[in-house]
Structure formats: C-alpha cells, structure tokens
Symmetry: C2
Subunit: 476 residues, 2 copies
C-alpha cells in the first residue's frame, strides 16, 4: 500500500507549510519577537532532541511514531468496517479524552457527506461525557438494533466510560435480548489488563486491542480512531500516507529543515524567553474545530507538568486556547489585539476550501456591500485571516500560519503527525515526560471516595470535611 | 405578566448560588488566595461601581440592564413566533459574534426537544461563520420554501453577515421567485442606519429593530435572541423573570450581598493582586457549552482593552477559556493542577439534571466497576466536579462554583444577567469601557483593503508590502 501511495503522491505532494515569519523580531519587533541568535543558541538542543527521539524510536520506545507505517492490521480492520457499513446506521463511541477526540477530529475534518439527506454511510457519534440529559436523549433517539457501541478505554477502568458501558449494556440486553446484545458492543482496551478485558473474556464481546505503549492522546493515527473514520468512507490509508510524508520531514536532523523542531523551538522560546504563556490555535475552517479540541488536550496534558528543578518545584505548560476564524474575530480578537501580549496565535488557513460560493454583485451602488460582490466566500475568509495576522504583527504580537493546500486525508495526516512530534520535542526541551498525567490521579481518588469505592474511605473523609468546612457566608 | 411571575416564583424561587469559598486564603493558602482584608479594601470601590451603574441606568445609559422588565414588544414578537411555527421547518440565523451567540446559548441550554424524531417545533440553526464548505452544505440541505433566514447585524454592514445575506438572497430569488423570496428573510438591524436598513426599505423585507443602545454581546435578553428561542417553544418570559430576579439581587448596594459585585471583586483581585490572568469557565453540563462560548466573548471583548495610565499604556484583560466537565478532566485538568498557577476555574454545577440514568449493578464482584452501580449518572457527574474542586483547592488554586438547582429558563435567565452585570462591574474597577471594541477596527480596514473596497487603497498597499516582505526561508 505504501508503494501505491508513493507513486501517486510524488506527482501531487501537497505539503502542509508553516510560515514562521510572524514570530521573529525582524517582523514584530524586539519586545516579543524571537531574535535569530536565540534560535541559533537553541539549535544544538533541538538537534539533540530530534536525535534522542529517533534513536529511542528505533529501540521501540515510541510506537506512536510508527503508526503511519504500521499497516499490518489494516486489512482486518477494513473488513470489519465493511461489515459494519452493512449492518449499522450509527456507530457510537463511548470514550473520553484521548479515546474520543482523535476520531472526532478526523471525522469532522474529512467527512464530506451531508448530515442527513442521501447519506449512504453510517453516522458516527462520539459520546464523550456523562451528562445524563444528553446521554439519555441520545439513547432514546437511536434504533438500537442498527447501532454498535464502540467502548474505548485503554485502562479498562475509566469511570465515565464504564458507567456509560453499564447503562448501554443493560439497555441492549433488555431491548435486544441475551442472544443479540453482545453483537452491538465493540470493545477496545489494553490487551491484557483491566476489568473491561475480563468482561470481554467472560461475555464474548467483539474486541480490538488498544495499541501497546501508545498513550491515548497520541493514538489518533491508530485503529482506535481510524476504524470509526473508515466507517464514514474516509480513506484512512491516505491519512497514514500524509502522516508518513510528515514523518520523513520530521526525521530531518537539521532543526532548520524539520518543521516539528522549528515549531517546537519557536513556541519554547516564546514561552521561556518572551513571556507568552498562552497558545491559541485558530483554524479558519469550521471542520477543524474538533481538531483544535484534540490539540488542546495534546498540548495541555503533555506539557502541563510540575517538575523538581534545582531543589524547588517548577510548574510549566502553556495554556492552549481554541478559537475559530472568522467567528472568533467577533469574540476574542479584541483581547488578542489590545489585551496583554501573552499569546501566540497559530492560524490554520485552508487555501482552497474545495467549494466556491461566489458572493453576488447584487447592490453595485451601495458601497458598504458592493465591495463584496464577485469574491468567493472562501477568498473572503482567507482575506480576513491575512488581515488579522498583520493586525497582530503590527502590534508586536507573534503569529504562526499553517497553510493547508486543501483539506484532504493526506494533509490532515500531515497536520496530526506534525503536532504530535512538535509536542514531544517541546517536552524534550523542558525535560519532562509528555506521556503521563500524574496530577489527575488525585481527582480520581477523590471521586472514588465520594462514590464509595472500597479502599478510598480516607478520601471520602477528606472531601466530607472539606465540604463541611465551607463557610455559608461565602455562598451568595 | 410580571405579576403572574411574582406570585408563582415566590413559592419556588430556585435562586442560582455562587460559592466563593475556593478563592480565599483561608481555604487555598496565602500564595494565591484572597485575604479578607483585600476584599474589605475593595469594598468602597465596589459599592461606588454599583452606585454609578445603577444611577447611570436610571438616566437611560444602560438599556441592556432594563431588558428583563422591557416587555412591551413581547406580545408582538410572540405572535410573529406563532406564525413562524406554522410556516417554517428551519430558522437560520445569519449573524456573527454578539448577533449569534446569545440565541445559540439560550437555545442549547433550554431546548429539551429531541434532535430529530417527533419534533414539533422548527429547528434553529445559527450560521455564524463564512466557511464556504459548511455554508454550502447547509444551504443544500434546507428546503428553502420552509426556511426563514434571520439576518442580524447591528451596524448593517458586517462583512461576513452581508456576504451570507447576498448569497442567500440570490438563492431564494432563483428558487422561490421574485414574488416570494422577500417572505423568507427577516432582518434585524439598527433602526436608522446602515446599508441593510436601506435594502430593507427598498425591497420590503420584514424587519425588527436591534434594541437601541445595546451592544451585541449584551443583547442576549433582547428580542434579537429571544425570538429564535421562543420559536423552539421555550418560555422566554421565564428567562426574563429569572433575569429580573437576578437584577433585584444585583441592585443591592452592599457588595457583600450583591452576587455580581462579589464575583467582580474576586476576579479583579485574583487578576490584579494574585497573578491570575486566565479565567476558565467549566460547566459540568453539555447543554451549557454554547453558553460558555457566549461568556468567552462577553469577557474577552468587554475587558480586553488597552488604556492610557500614568503616561504609559497598559494592556488588561483575563483570557477566558471554556472547558466542559467531565470531558475536559481528561484533557485540561492535568494542566490546571500541575501547570502554572495562573488560572481561576469557575465551575457551573447543575444540582439536578432533570433526568436520572441509574448505573446498573451489573458486576458486583469486579471492584473497578462495582462501586459505580446504583449511582445516578448525574450524581457521578456532580461527584467528579466536587473532586476536581477539592483537588484544585488542595494545590492552592482558586475555584468558584456556581450552582444551578435545575436548568430552567428561570435559572438560565439569572445566570446570563449575573454574568453581564459582573462583567460591567469588573470594567468599572479597571476604569475601562466594556461596550466598545476599538482594536478590531484595524483588521476590518485591512480586510476592506484586500477586498478592494474604495477608500482603502492604503491598507491594500500595506498588506501587499507585508506579504511581499515575508522571507521564504522562514516558511518550512
């Protein structure tokens, strides 16, 4: 398959390009702009980070990096997809965080099918929360006999996902009976651990393995997310082809030629030397909104860490913020322009949206309207993005512009892989582990305490004392 | 109507409560916690801000504050709604920013109707972007003969909205003919200004006036947003009743008893004295996600300002961030707990989601699952919120918890009004105008230049020089 791709893609490569002009002092001034020398000084560290990452990868330490090439199981997955396409109207992913966002991001970016009419593929629904109102409404609307629930939990113990699973399992048992309910649940979990694996073994649910050694938020290019995406009729091999093409660029040892390293270096310098603790990702494209949500998790959970340094504790991590152009120009841009100079705005621009809607020249004599006539709606969107980029730069505020020639599986694959490698390299510069999330454990323990899980009586006591100590006069 | 409300609501008031325990030094420690004395020192300034706001209001300066009582036009609006309910399947709002988010927030929070099946009300679609792919798909899916487009632009010149209008007008003309197209567009714009008003006068589109003196982002409780919400069958008078009830509390001159003033004071102190430049709003409720988006605009555009102070320039404004619980526990919480201590997290907790989904006790012997059995899904959601609040407080990180007893028009009306008054009072503490957005003008001028609007040739030249000056070696 890689062979097919290579011959095809070499003729029409469509690389994603990253414009870094907007972060340099020569463009935006010395107050927040990066000086060439700063990047030069960082260069050896960046080169070492690339080297370490790739040599650890060669030792099998970072299997997420090899997902674009890892196509052995693809054939089996695609035949499962073929069967699902015949049997189901809805695939509902029950998962949260890294078990949900990759599929949603890829599907939203690439699903060209209309929402309702003339739809010949099943619909994908990602249920990544336990709000009882929305979950009850969802279950009421589905024809369960034409629905498969894909339960995704790496640990097999995620409380939200397990709660959803328990509710769905009972509903399927009741409505479809003990013979059939098993066929309507597909489980993805770690190969050999967790209660969910035991349940699968006992009851015989169809199951697939969560890829070994891949953290949830770095699993977007694995079958966990590609299966539901393939179900929509999206060419997942092209996604992997795009990721593989970006992988080639990100293996480049010279940081100046490696897009992930350059991006990592630039954002690291902005954070550490230029007082920019906030990273905005602002696609000018509705379909990329869920991809921005996926990135917000990737960035926040991988880089938001507390480390021991020189005998003290240091908290690091830029805050990721999602904005959508042009809509958020009328919401956030006032703050980005006039508020504190603490943000780098990364635009994602789609050069050709694939659809042209020409604005008609209906009122040639009304000057506040006439200038719009004859432009394409997509051209107007690109003009607005350019205008915002310049407006920010003029105020000395750093911007990055990622240009997607089109929104295709091939370009999306590049973007996802780029962001994963960039995040990993930023972690290397900070000397932190991007793959763990130690802080969330405490919240889990406290929830266990409140829910009465045996062994968490201390946590229950702690939370009850804290609730009792709240001063009523501070509740207004 | 107010009379009916008063007698009914006095029996069942359902006030929204704000728990401020989590911001005080006595709970979270002195590093980031507010000391009683700090709030005491601010008290006279807060009292003065309340006094000024209410006396300016009495002079007619802040008509947005009177929207809950301003029900003269309600009867007319509701009969228009009645007619629309019979004639249309879809109402599509064409607007952006403050012309769009209020309706979307209220509708999402309160529309209990199923998304598709058995729907007896028209569907509301808010099209607040000019992405050609999503706009083309939307237009292709609609039955135009059963659709009304509500064009909302206060200035009557908003480029995105006017572009949408031009495309839709031509499509309606083509498909429905010159006799009928006029009936499918409803225009809301300033009473006496703008090209859109002139078009309305010339062509005879039905129209309503954007309320005078009300800025878009403070217009959520006006007919601009209540009309589409009423169309869904939501009781908009109860929304206004809730807002009126909150108004009574926010007129209170003693800041300690005024929820908006307390919130404003607390967030101001966190920003100015405790190094907290980021304000997270984290509802534990899917239906409140669009309300959080509405608030992000309210906060960012009202408070993100540059001011002249002591001969220099000062940039102010906390960055608003939307998070949704419990989903974002698996995305952002690691950063909030371990990353920089630069955030205040405001939770919104719905005590009773109105739907109970009990988690079945399916596996009593599997301890990683058994503890979930017997709890309601909504109870689990509330437990998780409590656990996160305590986890943050234990790390010295400030939290605020807004408790909604139920999600009803009455409680949502309270919340919206509370947030509007709070924002206005924070602006007063900073000495800034919350109702303007001067910085976005430059971006508009640059867009005009690129689009070739006469009179903006200088801007066109500027943006072309900037594009030409980009160094190709900084594009990777």
């Amino acid at each position: 398959m890689a062979q097919t791709f290579r011959s095809r893609r070499r003729q029409e490569p469509e690389p994603v390009r990253i414009d870094l002009n907007g972060v340099f002092a020569s463009t935006i001034g010395a107050a927040s702009g990066i000086r060439e020398g700063e990047l030069g000084t960082l260069r050896p560290r960046l080169a070492a980070a690339i080297e370490t990452l790739q040599s650890e990868r060669a030792q099998g330490l970072h299997p997420f990096l090899d997902l674009p090439q890892d196509r052995d199981a693809l054939g089996e997955m695609l035949s499962l997809v073929q069967q699902l396409r015949e049997d189901v109207d809805h695939l509902v992913v029950l998962g949260i965080g890294g078990s949900a966002r990759g599929a949603r991001a890829l599907a939203a970016a690439l699903d060209g099918a209309p929402r309702r009419k003339h739809r010949d593929a099943p619909e994908l629904i990602v249920a990544d929360n336990i709000d009882p109102a929305s979950f009850a409404r969802l279950l009421d609307e589905l024809d369960l006999s034409r629905t498969v629930f894909s339960v995704v939990s790496k640990s097999g113990e995620t409380s939200e996902t397990m709660a959803q699973f328990l509710i769905v399992r009972e509903r399927l048992l009741r409505e479809l009976g003990a013979m059939d309910y098993v066929k309507h649940i597909l489980v993805t979990t770690d190969a050999d651990a967790g209660s969910l694996r035991q349940i699968v073994n006992d009851e015989g649910f169809p199951s697939t393995a969560f890829p070994g050694g891949v953290s949830g938020r770095f699993s977007a290019l694995s079958s966990v997310h590609l299966l539901p995406v393939a179900l929509l009729g999206i060419d997942v091999e092209e996604i992997l082809d795009g990721a593989a093409a970006m992988d080639e660029r990100c293996r480049e040892r010279d940081p100046e030629k490696n897009p992930a390293a350059l991006l990592a270096g630039v954002r690291y310098l902005l954070d550490v030397l230029h007082g920019v603790p906030t990273a905005v990702l602002m696609p000018y494209c509705d379909r990329l909104a869920p991809l921005a949500d996926w990135w917000c998790q990737l960035w926040a959970e991988s880089l938001g860490k507390r480390v021991e340094r020189d005998g003290g504790r240091l908290s690091i991590g830029q805050t990721p913020v999602r904005a959508i152009g042009a809509a958020d120009q009328h919401s956030q841009m006032q703050l980005y322009l006039d508020g504190p100079a603490d943000k780098v705005v990364t635009f994602v621009r789609v050069a050709d949206a694939g659809v042209q809607l020409e604005i008609p020249r209906s009122y040639p004599d009304l000057e506040d309207v006439a200038y719009l006539g004859g432009h394409g709606l997509g051209d107007l969107l690109v003009m607005e993005q350019r205008a915002m980029e310049l407006a920010l730069n003029k105020r000395g505020r750093p911007t990055i512009a990622i240009e997607m020639p089109h929104l295709t599986p091939f370009t999306i694959g590049q973007l996802v892989y780029l962001m994963e490698v960039e995040t990993t390299l930023v972690a290397a510069l900070f000397g932190i582990d991007p793959f763990n999330q130690p802080a969330v454990e405490e919240g889990k323990r406290l929830t266990f305490g409140l829910a009465g899980k045996p062994g968490y009586e201390d946590e229950r006591g702690e939370i009850e004392r804290w609730l009792a100590a709240k001063l009523p006069e501070r509740v207004v």
